[in-house]
Every structure is written in C-alpha cells, then in structure tokens.
C-alpha cells in the first residue's frame, strides 16, 4: 500500500508544479504560486524519504540523508537571504548549476551500480546487459547535467565579474568537434566490454565538462540571460532523465515542464535580442560582434549637458520618461532613482519608466530592481506602451542603457542588432543620456543616438549623477 500513497504524493506534487508555474505568470498570484510549488516539493521529498519502497526494500542511510538536507537547506537559505537584489541573475545561475551537478551525480552513481554488477561477467558487452532506454537515460542525464553544471558556474562567474570572456580562433569548429566526441564516446561506451566500460564512460563525462566550459566561455556578458535560461531548461531535461531512470512521475513532469518552458523562454529572449538559437547553441556570437558597423563612427560632435541644466529641463517638463539599463543596476542606483521620481512628482511632473524586455542582464531584471526600490507597478511601461507614450514625452532620461535604444536596430541593415525592437526614445522632445563613458554597450557597436541633435550626454556613474540631480532639483 505504501507505494500507492507515494504515487499520490507524486501526483499531488506534479499538479502543484503546474499550478505553481501557472500562478507565477500573474503578478497578483505569483507569490502564492511559488509557495504552492514549494509545498508540492516538500510533499514529494517527504514522501520519497518515508514511503519509497523498491521490491519491498525501504530506503536506509537516514542519518546521511537528513544531514545532507539540513546542510543544503542552511547554506541555501543563507545565500538566498544574504545576496543583493542586483546579483539575482548570477544566483539563479548558481542554483541551476547545483541542480545540474545533482542530476549528473545521480546518473554517475547509477552507472557505477551497473558497472559493479556486470564487470565480473567475462566478454560481454554493456549493450547486452543494459537496455538502450536505461542507458540513454543515464548517459543523457550525465552529459546534460555536466554541461549544465559547468556552464552555469561559468555564467555565474562571468556575471559576478570573476571570469572574463575568452575565445580563440576556430573555437566554433572546436566546440562542434568536442560535442561530436561527447556523442561518439557515449555510443562507444554502450558497446564496450563490461569489465572496462568505466573508462569510456568517464572520458564522456570529462568531455561533457569540457564542452560546457567552452560552450559558455566565449559568450559575452550581455548574452548571459539567454545562456542561463537555456541551461535552466537543460537541467530540467537532466532531471527528467532521472525520472525515466526511477520511473518517477514527479521528476518527469517537473523536469519536462521546466525543460519545455525554459526552452520557450530562451527562444522568446533570443527573438527580443534578434538572435537565433542556433547561434547561441554553437556558442559563437560573442566573438564576431566586436568590429562590425564600427566603421560608421564619423564622430560628429556630441553635446554634453551640465547637471543643473538637466535638472532644470526635467523640473519644467510635463512628462519625464526614465529608461533604466544595466548601468543603473551596476551603480545600485534604483533607490536614488525612485527618490528622483518622487521629487519630480512633487513638482507636478509626470514620471514613468520605459522597460525594454531585455534591459539589464535578464528579462524583467529592471522590474525586479525598481520594485525593490518601491517604484509603483503602474509606472513601469512595457516596450509597446512606452513607444506610444514617447510621443507626448518632454524629457527622456536614459540611465545606463545603450543597445536597447540604439536606432541602428531600425535604420541600419548592416548592424548586428538590426531588427531588434527598441525603445524609440527619439519620438520625445529631448533625450538625456547618462553613461559612464562613450564606450559601446554589450553588443559592441556604436550608438548613433548619442550624436543626434536631440540628445545631450550626462557622463558619470548613475548613482552619483542622480544624487547631484536630486540636490539640484531640491534647490529649484
């Protein structure tokens, strides 16, 4: 009877995952949805610990299981509570890597069982003793989990500034060769002799780790959200492989659900950035975006504006639109930005925020940041609404955003970002751009917007500039 109750537990868990994801798609129910999914997870875990029963054999090693869970929980809660809101993206990547490593380890241990069981049998092949489906689940879990683990760790390191972009000539081909080798050794392992099958298996693991490394290393920081989302869905698939292995419906539904949803999310992100998923998969686009369209820099005069003039402009405007970007996140200026908004509103200026879907380092990154600073939900406009409102806007203040307002995406077919939807800030009367320097953004291309007649530049760290603006505004 025990196994039946467990099946019900897994069914409940699967349903909560679906409902949880569904509720996460609505701002008013999202938080509840998260907890519903979490409670389903607790049911599934508790059920597994106490009710799992394989041919009458119950689980043992409780002291190990519980101490591992306690260690994991304490570290997990500590990290999750301590981290700053600005470093959220890398944290998601970090936890994703943990999940990937977990999936890979499970598969490795399962392989080890098979190896121990059959290694003494003389001159048989691994394919004679293990069914193709079973082997496929193990090897896929191992490979995908390993790639996801290393990839997520690299992405985490890159976003927190610990690891620099690295690429070399012919990396494109190199990656394809490694990927091919991974698959080849995986097949070779299956048709190896049982007493030496562990060698090709661990070569496969090593190659998969190598692939994960070179898969993420060359990709530039701006493309990290796409990579993290993709690796997120990878881990989902790796978890589903575990579901096949143990005939476990909760793992299967949870894993596939995340795998499918994550893949779609990745495609949506790619589309917003005007890149194809194929390019991401081969891991090449970071390398070839550097020198294109740079030839166009005729360096017309740029116009600088002083802080007091900028403050004056905004104070006497009817409507100000703020375009936040990564510069705002780096400078941790979201609270100062909210203060500026309040001061302007006291002066009767209408203030809104225009949020590009890929502003910052993750879709929705800016929304999370601004929400942390208590910016009202209704003030955040999505791209299409914002583009409508720019027509009636007097001043646009761009805080550390670059590529998402680059008009080359609309006018210059030779540009790498051509076709990407942008915030059409030029529809407004004046544009003030705050940047630290004239350096190009993450796509590595010039932004002609900065040279246009309507545009004035306000150089400096976003937080410092905002504080100075605030001081000026209070004096007006």
């Amino acid at each position: 009877m025990g196994i039946n109750i467990l099946s019900v537990c897994y069914l409940v868990a699967s349903v909560t995952f679906i409902i949880g994801l569904k509720m996460l798609s609505n701002p008013s129910t999202a938080r509840k949805g998260n907890w519903i999914a979490a409670s389903g997870m607790i049911i599934a875990i508790a059920g597994t610990i106490f009710l799992y029963n394989n041919d009458g054999k119950k689980l043992g090693n409780y002291e190990w299981i519980f101490s591992a869970i306690i260690i994991g929980s304490v570290i997990g809660v500590l990290i999750a509570k301590k981290v700053k809101m600005t470093s959220m993206p890398e944290l998601v990547s970090f936890f994703n890597g943990m999940g990937g490593a977990c999936a890979a380890l499970i598969s490795i241990v399962e392989f080890d069982y098979l190896y121990r069981e059959h290694r003494t049998i003389a001159s048989t092949f691994f394919s004679d003793v293990v069914s193709p489906g079973h082997y496929l689940a193990i090897i896929a879990g191992t490979i995908i989990g390993s790639v996801s683990f290393i990839g997520s760790m690299i992405a985490w390191g890159k976003l927190s500034g610990k690891i620099k972009d690295y690429s070399f000539k012919g990396q494109h081909l190199f990656n394809i060769i490694i990927l091919f080798l991974v698959l080849a050794t995986a097949v070779f392992t299956y048709f190896s002799n049982t007493h030496s099958v562990n060698i090709p298996f661990f070569v496969t693991v090593a190659l998969a780790l190598l692939y994960g490394l070179f898969f993420v290393l060359p990709i530039g920081g701006a493309d990290m959200p796409v990579v993290i989302s993709l690796l997120n869905s990878f881990t989902g698939v790796a978890a589903a492989c575990g579901g096949f292995l143990y005939d476990n419906k909760a793992m299967l539904t949870g894993g596939i659900l995340v795998g499918a949803a994550g893949t779609l999310l990745t495609i949506l992100m790619c589309r917003a950035m005007n890149r194809s998923l194929i390019n991401v998969l081969i891991g090449s686009f970071g390398a070839n975006t550097n020198n294109l369209s740079g030839a166009k820099s005729e360096h017309e005069n740029i116009k600088e504006i002083s802080v007091s003039d900028a403050a004056m402009l905004m104070a006497y405007a009817k409507k100000v639109m703020i375009v936040p970007g990564y510069g705002l996140a780096v400078a941790q200026a979201q609270h100062t930005c909210h203060e500026l908004e309040k001061v302007l509103e006291e002066k009767g200026v209408e203030v809104k925020y225009a949020i590009h879907p890929v502003a910052g380092r993750m879709p929705g990154h800016m929304n999370v940041l601004l929400a942390e600073a208590d910016v009202s939900y209704e003030k955040l406009l999505e791209m299409d609404d914002a583009n409508e409102e720019f027509k009636s806007t007097d001043v646009v203040l761009i805080l550390g955003a670059n590529d998402v307002v680059n008009p080359a995406a609309k006018d210059d077919p030779s540009s790498t970002i051509y076709g990407m939807p942008i915030l059409e800030v030029e529809l407004a009367k004046t544009v003030i751009v705050n940047k630290r320097s004239m350096k190009p953004g993450y796509a590595g291309i010039e932004n002609e917007l900065f040279y246009r007649a309507k545009t004035s530049m306000l150089f400096g760290d976003a937080k410092k500039i905002l504080q100075e603006l605030l001081a000026e505004l209070k004096n007006i």
Binding site: A30, M85, G99, C102, D112, G133, T253, G254, V368
Partner: protein, 107 residues
C-alpha cells in the same frame, strides 16, 4: 526500428507524460508578462530541483560499504537541496517586492 517500437511500448505512459508536459510547459509560459520573466525563471529553476528525489533514492539505497555511492549520493542530496531551497527562497524574495507594491497601493 523494432527496438524503438519496443521502447515505446514499454514506456508508453512516460512518453505520454513527456509529450503532454512539453505542450503544457509552452502553453503556460506563453502567457507570462515580461515583467515576471526573472521570477519565473527562478521559480522554474526551483522546480527542476525535484531532481533531489533521485538523489535521495540513490543515497537511501546505497549499501554501507559502497563509498562511491555514499559520498556522491550525499553530495547530490546537498546540491539538490541547495537548488530547491535556495531557488524557492530567492523567488519569494523577488516576488515579495511586487507584493509590497500592490498591498501599499490598496491602503
């Protein structure tokens, strides 16, 4: 070909689940406003932490002399728990900020 059919016959239930879940996953995500993409990615990240079930099974059925399974299984449970607990707590922290917005507005 025969092995493929044999495989499908043996696992038909699982294959159904996979196919349905793929469509369901796509359907659910398709309606998410872009503001919620980061929390959603984080929530999905926590949900694939369900892989911890596998880790618990590995750990629980390891015999006392099998150190490979014991050590790797232990590590897997720790990492899996990190994924689950950390994932849900972080998602909640993100969503908390949206929540505080709406409740303040109602006041």
């Amino acid at each position: 070909m025969e092995t493929v059919i044999h495989f499908l016959q043996q696992n038909i239930e699982m294959v159904y689940i996979v196919v349905l879940m793929i469509f369901l996953g796509i359907e659910i995500i398709g309606r998410v406003p872009s503001i919620l993409h980061t929390p959603l990615m984080s929530g999905a990240n926590a949900i694939h932490g369900v892989v911890i079930i596998g880790a618990i099974i590995v750990m629980g059925k390891a015999e006392s002399g099998n150190y490979v399974a014991l050590v790797l299984g232990f590590l897997a449970v720790v990492l899996g728990t990190l994924n689950v607990v950390g994932g849900f707590v972080v998602t909640d922290r993100m969503l908390e900020m949206f929540k505080s917005r709406t409740s303040k507005k109602e006041k």
